[in-house]
Structure formats: structure tokens, C-alpha cells
Amino acid sequence: MPQSDTVWFGPMLTVNELSKNYGDFVAVDRISFSAAAGQVFGLLGPNGAGKSTAINCISGLLKPTSGHASVAGHDVVSDGKAARSKLGVVPQELALYDDLPAIENLRFWGKAYGLGGKELNDRVAEVLETIGLGDRATDLPKEFSGGMKRRLNFGCGVVHKPPVILLDEPTVGVDPQSRARLFDLVEAERDAGACVLYTTHYMEEAERLCDSLAIIDHGKLIAQGSVAELRAKLGARDVLQLTGHFPVEPTKQAIAALIERGNADLEFLAQQEDSITLTLSQASQHLPAIYEAVAGTGGSVTETSLRSPNLETLFLLLTGKELRE
């Protein structure tokens, strides 16, 4: 169980109508969500969506323009010190002293969160083993691989056993093996009872780790719920993307004719001169009819992409663009 000097029964993390403006630019636009202990809550969105800004407002690095965020019942602005004492932050950019041994990095950040004496020593030893750097404790981070630095970065964020952990895209630039290791660490913290807020633009990470998540784009939350609930929004619809040459109007009419004939429960998602994106159920069975319709317009298909319903296709459905544009 995570350490706690007070008993708090509500959500460990609550964000209510949180906004952050930079002049006229709205980076975060009235987002609201909550996360409970023993849960990984994902914030999924493309680069520039506002994920890091939201995390920075919760962690105290930025002051929100409006709205509130609270950690274990402590408002991050009015009761900031208490809120920060319950938080562990694993930032997107590494935050390590590369000229200080790994063990000293952990000790320093443990001290920053009030640990000391035997408790600190025991916890540092435990974290070193957990992150797999027990045999590199006295080495300098500047000698580590990228994955090892990321694990130490994670360790420094959780050394004080926080009940709430903020992870801001922790696997950026990390090799698959280290990424898998980080996933294990996140799941271990969740299983130990921590509330984890995990931001990412990788759909597969969100699908693997998150118990519930919110999809954010241009500062707004556009969908929220458990992974199963969000998938249900898609129904059982596939996303079909054709790349090639498509005369715009004739292609639109041809597809509309298909829809009228009831050959497929087709829906247009997007159309450009060199691509069309459709959503329909059991797309593989309707491919011949779609190819024939396109060929009849004088167009040609050079590439076909068929994706089963997932969060990325949900994002595409909701925003009309790819998650990783």
C-alpha cells in the first residue's frame, strides 16, 4: 500500500474544469477527470494536445488559469505543498544528476520528499533492485544507456512511495526491452495501490496499461472511459483507408451509391485526392465492391490499409486525423 499519513477516501486525483492559457492560446481547455487508487489512468493524445501542460499544472510547475486539480484531497494551488508531498513525478525529459552516482540521485530525491535515515536507505535499496540497477548503484548516469537512464528517472519519481504518480510519456526514445521493463514497473506501482496518471501518444501503451483513459486533442477531452467503453463507441467498425488517385466528386458519388444500395454500412471519414478513409463493419467482405466502385470513376488504388477497431481508429473517428501525425 502507498504511504499515507492521512486517510483519504475519495479519488486520489481529481481534475475539474482545468484550463491553462498562454495569452490567447488555450493549451488546456476545461478538462475534467478523476482517477482512483490502484488504477492507471491514461491521457492519450498527439504531440501538442496539452498532455504535458495538464501534468505540469497538476504537479505545480504551472499555475492553472482556471479550474482545480487535487491530489489525495489537497488542492494543488491552495494546498500545494501537501499535494506535492503525495505526488511522484516522472517527467518526459530526464531529470537526473548525470554527474552523481545512481544511488546518490535516489537518496537526494528521497530527501527532497522527507525521507531519511534507515527508511531512506531501505527504500533506495529496494528501488535500485526494482528498476534493475542494483549492480550499477555507484555508477554515474552519464555512463548509462537510454533505457537505464529512463529506469533511474522512474526510480527517482517513486523513491518516496507516492500514492499518486504522474508519468509524462516515460518511454519516448526507449528501446523495446526497456519499454517493457518500464511497463512492468508501472503495473507494479499500480498493483501496490498507487494511482497512476500516464500520458502517451502511443495507442498500444494506453491499451496495455490503462484501466481507463481520456483522449485529448487541442487541449480538449474528446472522449473518456475505460478501454472497453471507448472501443464500444466504435462499435465493431473497421477503418478502411485507400491510397491512390481518386477523382473527388465521382468517387464521392460512387461511394454514396454503394451506401444507397445498402451493400455496406459505409461511412465517409475523410476524402482527399490521394486518399479516402471509410469506416464500415466487416470491411474485408466489401472490398471487391469498393474497388469496383472506385475503378468505375477512373480512379486507381495503390495501397489499402484495413484496421480493426482500436483507440487509434477511435481517435481518427473523433478527430478525422491520425494519432501520430
Binding site: 510547475l61 506535492r84 508531498s85 531529470a95 544528476y97 530525491w109 527532497a112 520528499y113
Partner: protein, 406 residues
């Protein structure tokens, strides 16, 4: 305070990875200080060499040679005989202040009251000593002229004598000269105008200029140290550790206190070494050492606080570095680190004394030149401590209001 100690230990551990930089902070001021001290010497008096080419090699030419090394003139002028070519080369190379050529036949011309030319060639890169040599030469020539006028009969008698005059002839000339001196002396002595030089009573000898320069050299080392240490805030920002710090519940003041303690230790090392060498060289009483070192540490930490503020005011490290460099060297020049304040024009010295490093150097000068230890006044200590607190307060504010975010 436990986190302050952690912050201190962390900075010292990191400084130990890069301690070589500290050697540079010490070495540059020591080099500058050594050079200037050697130039100034431990005494104010200038010294130089007068090269003499005596082609006459007579009693009279020896009198001329002796005149330049007599009395107070001999304390700062070394007379050396040489040949013309060597003398000319050395004067042109700047090794001597002047070259005086006494031509062959000088004595004969003096006794026969005939014109004779003494050639004086001076070092063009000097002004004081060559000017002294020129004036002394003119005085000697005037003295020779008056001697010729006063003792013209005796000189004529001498020149008409055979090469081996009898004792009676020499005695007669000596008596005649003595008689004339006895007639003239009462008209010259005592002098009608007597000059009395009144100097204020001194409890202790005035300190040599090189000693007065020493504090400026030491403060230079501290300025380099404080500015270098302040740059660590940018390094921590790039490492991302300031972001993590601001997200932690710890009081930022403890983090800054740790940095201040680390800076104090490093400044104590830098200041302690340079101060020790200065005390050793100038023979300053060791009773002044502890207070002097404490002053350096306390005021050095104040410098560190304000250099940190300067670093944090700018949006990027490059601009911060350029501005601090543009500020450091004029401060050092005005504050007496390259030239002693005592030799500067009054208005520049006034600006220098008002600068932070000039303020530090002046108080250090007070301490090392006073009779008893502990001469720095309480208000100076208070100014330094208050400015330190204010400086770090601004640093904490900048950390919270955006500097921590890369």
C-alpha cells in the same frame, strides 16, 4: 535543514567531478597579481641603470661618474661602465634608462675652459629616470662652470705646472682654494630660504602599493568563482533537476541554502589559498587571517547570490553568459583587481569602491592593514548578509516563476 545538507553534499560531490576549474579560478588571478606585483615591487621607488662610456678616463671624468651614484641618487640609479656599441644597444633595447658619453679630452677641455660636449642618450620608453639623469647632468655642468669661474686662477696655475708638481706647489693651490671657499661659504650658508618638510606622524609605516593591490587580486579569484558557480543553475535546468525540484514539497530555501553552503566551502578554499599566499608574501600578521577569510567567504557568498540572480534573469544560457562576461571584466578593472585603486584617477577609484568587488577589496584592505584584527565594521557585515538574503530570495522567486522550466 536536512535537505539543505543534502543539497550541500550533492553540490560538493558534483564539484569534485570538475575541480580542475577551481584551479583556473585561482591561477589566473595569481598570474595577474604576480606580474603586477613584480612590476610594482615591494617599494614605490623606481630604479634604473645609467650606462657610462668614459673615453677620457681621468680624475675629472671619474668625478662625473661618481656624482651619479652619490647620495639618494645612488639608491635608485645604478651606474655601469660599458663601451659605446654595447651601451647603445642596451638603451635601445630598453635595458637601461640612459647612456652618457664622456669624450676623450674632457678633463683637458675643462681645465682649459674650452667647449666640450657630453652626449646623453635616454630610453624613449621611460620618462622619470631619464628626466632625473638629464637634470643631474645639467646641474653637474653648471657646477663645473661655476667651479671654473671661482677657481679660474688655480686651474690656470695647475695647467701651467709640470707633470710632477712639488708638494709646495700643491699646498699653495690647496690653500688658495680653501681661502676662496672660506670667503664664499658664509654668503651661501646658511641658506636664506630653509625648506622644512612636515609629514604627519605615522603610527606605522605606509603600506607598500603591492600590499594594497593584494585584496583586488584575491577578490578577482572570488569573482571568477562566484560567477562560475552561479552557472550551475543553468546546468541544473538543462539536466531537468530544477523541474523535479519545483514539483517536490521541499522548501526551495533549503535547496538554495545547500547551494550557498557549497559555494561557501569552495570560496573558502579559493580565498583561503590566495589569502595564504598573499599573507606569506607580504608578511602580514596571521592574527588577521581568520577574520579576512571569514570576510571573503561571507562576501563571496553574496557575490554568488547576485551572480545567480543575473544568470536567472535571462531566457537562455548564452545570453546570460555574455552579459555576465560583459559585466565581470569592467567590474574587475574598476574594482582594483587589475590596477590598484590607489593609482587610479579619483573618480574611477570612487566608482570602483562602490562596486561589489571594490567594496569587498576595500574592507579586506582595512583588515590586513589595521593594527588589530577585526577592523571591518559591523555595518559592512550587515550589508553583505542582507544582500545575500535578498539575492537568494530573488533566486527562489525566479525558480518558482519559470526558470525551472526548460
Amino acid at each position: 535543514m536536512s535537505f539543505a545538507l543534502s543539497s550541500f553534499r550533492k553540490d560538493i560531490a558534483r564539484w569534485r567531478q570538475d575541480w580542475v576549474l577551481t584551479l583556473i579560478w585561482i591561477a589566473i588571478p595569481l598570474m595577474v597579481g604576480t606580474l603586477v606585483t613584480i612590476l610594482m615591487g615591494s617599494d614605490v621607488k623606481p630604479s634604473g641603470t645609467l650606462l657610462l662610456v668614459d673615453e677620457d678616463e681621468t680624475f675629472f671624468s671619474e668625478l662625473v661618474v661618481g656624482a651619479y651614484s652619490a647620495g639618494e641618487l645612488g639608491e635608485f640609479l645604478t651606474v655601469e661602465k660599458t663601451d659605446y656599441d654595447d651601451g647603445l644597444t642596451r638603451v635601445n633595447d630598453g635595458e637601461a634608462s640612459g647612456l652618457l658619453v664622456i669624450p676623450k679630452g674632457f678633463a683637458e677641455a675643462f681645465l682649459e675652459a674650452e667647449p666640450v660636449t657630453l652626449t646623453l642618450r635616454t630610453n624613449p620608453s621611460q620618462t622619470i629616470l631619464p628626466g632625473i639623469i638629464r637634470e643631474v647632468t645639467e646641474i653637474l655642468l653648471d657646477a663645473g662652470f661655476y667651479a671654473q669661474q671661482l677657481f679660474s686662477d688655480e686651474i690656470e696655475t695647475l695647467t701651467s705646472m709640470s707633470e710632477n708638481p712639488t708638494d709646495a706647489q700643491v699646498a699653495a693651490i690647496a690653500i688658495a682654494i680653501q681661502n676662496k671657499v672660506e670667503v664664499v661659504a658664509p654668503r651661501l650658508f646658511p641658506l636664506v630660504i630653509d625648506v622644512e618638510i612636515v609629514e604627519p606622524p605615522q603610527e606605522q609605516p605606509a603600506p607598500p602599493l603591492a600590499l594594497l593591490y593584494m585584496p583586488g587580486v584575491i577578490v578577482m579569484a572570488l569573482v571568477f568563482s562566484a560567477n562560475g558557480l552561479a552557472g550551475d543553475f543553468w546546468k541544473e535546468r538543462e539536466l531537468g533537476t530544477l523541474r523535479r525540484l519545483v514539483a517536490a514539497p521541499t522548501f526551495l530555501g533549503e535547496f538554495l541554502a545547500g547551494k550557498a553552503l557549497a559555494a561557501a566551502l569552495i570560496i573558502a578554499i579559493v580565498g583561503g589559498i590566495t589569502l595564504f599566499l598573499g599573507f606569506l608574501y607580504h608578511g602580514i600578521g596571521w592574527a588577521h587571517y581568520p577574520v579576512s577569510l571569514l570576510w571573503l567567504v561571507v562576501s563571496g557568498v553574496a557575490l554568488f547570490a547576485w551572480f545567480s540572480v543575473l544568470q536567472m534573469l535571462f531566457s537562455n544560457q548564452k545570453t546570460a553568459g555574455v552579459v555576465s562576461t560583459l559585466l565581470v571584466f569592467p567590474l574587475l578593472m574598476a574594482g582594483g583587481s587589475f590596477f590598484p585603486l590607489a593609482v587610479m584617477p579619483g573618480w574611477i577609484a570612487a566608482i570602483g569602491r562602490a562596486s561589489p568587488n571594490g567594496f569587498m577589496a576595500e574592507r579586506l584592505t582595512t583588515e590586513i592593514t589595521s593594527v588589530a584584527a577585526g577592523a571591518i565594521d559591523a555595518s559592512s557585515w550587515a550589508i553583505v548578509v542582507i544582500s545575500t538574503v535578498v539575492g537568494f530570495g530573488i533566486c527562489g522567486w525566479r525558480l518558482r516563476t519559470g526558470f525551472a522550466r526548460a
